[in-house]
């Protein structure tokens, strides 16, 4: 009985979650004039015109390529630097550890609007403007702290006896860390990778500020659907549907790590 209620609740939640997404899909398969002219539960004059435009116009599809490049860079950098740091925070006491840990998170707390101009100046001074690495580095500002915090939470859930046993058994730190410890927190690494990807993927302001043409992200190109005649809702919806695809693939790849979780007795 209880199990059934759970499933029913979950199904209702997922239906509600999918309705706006269905609406976006519906809009993406209609022309803009059609969307604005009448209400339609499903596209009556179905057209793939909006998708065709995105796939044939290089200034559109290159936006996806650019976004994927800097988001992948950012996710790799974030995980790479955050894993050892999170281990240090979860296992060791050192001068300024608590202050440092909280300071990291404060970098997510400033309203972005006024900070965009100094960011532009900083990255043009170091000559990185309009490159993928500039956006990847700038996004580290909010993704690295998040990665450290999430990973630290998972690492602190692992009993320290595991580390001690491994060191007694003669494991070096890097070997212990890579072959024993990281597999233990797979769920955490999976979630962290997804969140880094996600926050970098949808960020608009910094990505738009730091790029001109060569590295322009899809989220910035989508603002081009606003023109003098108003918004092209159909085109925007099609672009929106396509922005979901790469992230859905990422979560598909990390799903097993998230689901498996913890397995003691590995040592």
């Amino acid at each position: 009985m209880k199990g059934k209620k759970k499933v029913a609740g979950l199904v209702i939640y997922f239906i509600l979650l999918l309705i706006p997404i269905y609406w976006m899909l519906n809009m993406s398969l209609r022309s803009n004039a059609d969307i604005l002219a009448s209400f339609a539960l499903y596209p009556k004059n179905m057209t793939f015109m909006n998708y065709m435009k995105i796939f044939t116009d290089s200034s559109w599809y290159m936006g996806y390529v650019n976004s994927i490049i800097y988001v992948a860079m950012n996710t790799v950098i974030s995980l790479f630097v955050a894993l050892p740091a999170a281990y240090a925070f979860s296992r060791y006491q050192f001068v300024g550890d608590k202050q440092m840990f909280f300071w990291l998170l404060t970098n997510r707390m400033a309203p972005a609007a006024v900070f965009a101009l100094p960011f532009f100046q900083l990255y043009s001074t170091v000559g990185l403007l309009d490159t993928h690495i500039a956006v990847a580095l700038a996004h580290c500002l909010f993704n690295v702290p998040l990665a450290v915090w999430i990973l630290e939470g998972f690492m602190s859930g692992i009993p320290r006896e595991i580390d001690e046993t491994a060191f007694i058994d003669g494991y070096s730190f890097p070997r212990f860390f890579i072959t024993i410890f990281i597999p233990l927190i797979r769920a955490g690494v999976g979630v962290t990778a997804f969140f880094c990807f996600m926050f970098s993927w949808v960020e608009l302001l910094l990505a738009r500020t730091l790029t001109v043409t060569a590295a322009k992200p899809i989220s910035a190109i989508m603002t081009r659907t606003i023109s003098a005649t108003g918004l092209d809702y159909g085109l925007l919806a099609a672009a929106g549907v396509l922005t979901i695809v790469p992230g859905a693939m990422v979560i598909w790849f990390v799903r097993n790590h998230m689901a498996k979780g913890f397995a003691l007795g590995r040592v």
Binding site: L10, F14, V81, F89, Q93, F119, L141, W149, G153, F154
Partner: protein
Amino acid sequence: MEKWSNNKAWLLVLPVFVIVAFSAIIPLMTVINYSVQDILAPGQKVFVGTEWYREMLGDYRLHEALWRQFLFSGLVLLIEMPLGILIALAMPKKGWGVSVCLVTIALPLLIPWNTIGTIWFIFTRPDIGLLGAGMNNWLGIAFDHTANPLDAWITVMMMEVWHWTPLVALLAYAGLRAIPEAYYQAARIDGASAWSTFLFIQLPKMRGVLTIAFLLRFMDSFLIYAEPFVLTGGGPGNSTTFLSIYLVKIALLQFDLGPGGAFSLIYFVIVLLFSFIFYQALQRVGKGEKV
């Protein structure tokens, strides 16, 4: 848990410090610089001390936006945290259902924020949107977020809950999966009910991820800009002019970097202060538990 005391651990933290500080320190200094100057023209600046701070702190529209912001973030946390935990508890633990649930639940998170605002704008329009037309034509409830402030609030809240509850659910789910099976076995042997298993095993074990979820939702909802701006433009009237929307009005539309800088820093300090209080409180909650 007692920690090992060792200052060499700094070596593990150093790369993080360098990479974050690179993007953090100089822009912050620049904004502090803006906030104490009157920038008349490029290269023409006058030092004005705390004038912008006094002007901003006395601005009644800022106070209104701030209260609105507190109400908004409060509601967000009250709705999304319990809902997210419930969803995580209801999600299957193994089998094909896991993959389906994880991918589906992540969908709203992956859409750029300005697009979410635009889609919801159409979705809730009384004439051509599913939700708007459904409310007005099928249910007979007059619903128009462009005219009625309450409807605008309801729309923004629905969008926000739709968009961000998955974040809480995903974190909570990963936290649940990280609990060793042995704990559940022990609970079963003791004959613990589902409720006491939740209260004494799952909740304490999820404290870490839930702290992050809580702080993230607080910070991000307090800084929310693109979605409500695109959806309602801050209106009708000023009813959904949240703090960021007002900040952008001052800083960018009037191109006034001085007051904008002062506003940003006041804003930053408020978020910082509350995050710190929440963090300390959440740290303390779990201290009594010996799990």
